[in-house]
Amino acid sequence: MQSVLHAIVEPGFFSSQEVQLAALLGGLVAIVAAGVGVFTVMRGQSFAGEALGDIGAAGGSSAYLVGISPLWGFAVISVAAAGAMELIGIQRARGRDLATGIVLGAGFGLTALFLYLGSDYNNTSGATVSILFGSAFALSPSDLPLVLGLGALTVATVVTLYRPLLLVSVSPELAAARGVPVRLVGFGYLFAMAVAVALSAVTIGAILSTALLVGPAATALRLTRRPHRAMLVAAGTGLGCTWLGLLLAYDSYYWPPHGHNWPVSFFVVALVLVVYLTSGWSRIGRQARHR
């Protein structure tokens, strides 16, 4: 029994402080991001989420430049980018894609500049890789209050906006007719998404943060049509993927090539994709039975 358990969970997994911290912070972030993501998927704003994460990398790299916690950089720049997208016109379905693209392009330019300025040119590796790909095991205990605060802010925003946001997402015309401030609600949500992406960026890296935002939410929306239930399912899926990813990454030290940990981000992303694909099959199966 003991040996079977050891084969699944390598010794030291539960007692290691880094793992505990990563599981705590990563779990919180996964729940927040996945819950917020349900609306991202419903509103078809995956690209905006992805772009916010990438642009956040500019913030992460500038934070290295001035020497503050990368999380601050991510959060500030993401929120600023959300504002820019709103100004250019993300609220119209037609120009949305373009508005996002323009802001993303500009963000990339800034990231390149900050990474270049922030480090010796030939030695960008450390900063480049850790900002873009992140690592849950590299979080420090001092990040905890900030993660908690920003997470609470995001959840509070979405909860406050819940009913009008739902109406705006499902039928903007009806919402406008009923006097809901469509644009304001849209921007409020974009703000919440920006913070959620920033949180997720520190855990699994800027360019992978979309995985936690979109993947569990898309899975949940395939399994259930009720928004609040979808949020619960998404949060559970995100949490499961993150924890299992941490466990696998910890175990992978004993996998080939020996003595090297596979990155957590890879496992989280792979698990998210697998869950999404599986949920597709389950739906096809259900449709087949109904016929």
């Binding site: 998927v41 078809g44 704003q45 995956s46 690209f47 989420g49 992805e50 772009a51 037609r94 894609d97 373009l98 996002t100 693209g101 323009i102 993303l104 392009g105 500009a106 963000g107 990339f108 330019g109 800034l110 990231t111 390149a112 500049l113 990474l115 270049y116 040119y121 030939n122 030695n123 960008t124 590796s125 450390g126 480049t128 890789v129 873009l132 790909f133 890296g205 360019i207 992978l208 979309t210 995985a211 979109v214 993947g215 898309a218 395939r222 090539p257 090297h260 940990n261 596979w262 990155p263 981000s265 890879f266 989280v268 992303v269 792979a270 998210v272 994709l273 999404y276 597709g280």
Partner: protein, 262 residues
Amino acid sequence: MFSGFMVNAWIVATLVAIVGGAIGFFIVMRGSAFVAHAIPNGSFAGAAGASLVGASTLLGLGVFAVGGALGIGLLGRRGRHDVATALALVFMLGLGALFLSFSVEYGPAVFSLLFGEVLGISDNELWPTIGLSVLCLLVLAMLWRPLLLASVLPDSAQGVDPFKLELAFLLLVALATTMTVPVVGTALIFSLMIGPPAAARAFTVRPGVALGLSVLIAVATVWAAIALSYSTDWPVGTFVAAISTGAYAAGRLWTFALRKRR
């Protein structure tokens, strides 16, 4: 600025700008900026994988770009298109993170793949780039009519299977990616595919003229960016992004001014 190794940079960058500006026109028309972001960015993992097993970068990029295009096309057939794109992208990037963690000396190369290193193009890289860009333009010319029709009026394109057309377009983006990423980086090609065509569309409504204008703006952007990068030593991608964003802003101002006058 025009001596020796810089000649290659000018030639390749001009080709990249022509192809990027031309394909970008359709990307903006079809509203597929996300795909234009996802395929180049994701295929970067292929370059990381290729360097790990010792294969050529071009091959790795090609395999991942085509794989990503097929994945987006097939996954997007059932389910939401943007979700499919996002998941295909993050999965490829996840693989990239895995490959990077195995190789030790990849840092500077990551930076150059993502943000461009246009000044260091060797003669070996020149010919594949020329060949692939000619191929891209040929395919684009062949798809011109159906693609234009399907992009303007998605519902009325008769006799063309929309799924096949979408797949063909995705593969075209993959081809352009394979050609451009090793020389200019993923961020730069994205800016080129979005900014100049978006600006061109603000100045004219006629598709042929808009395409030409888009290519012109893209070429001008790249030339200015190389010159600035050469004299300041800052990354090329920064200047390309700044100039193409500026071009878009100019286009928006132009339409705004036109509307005011009426």
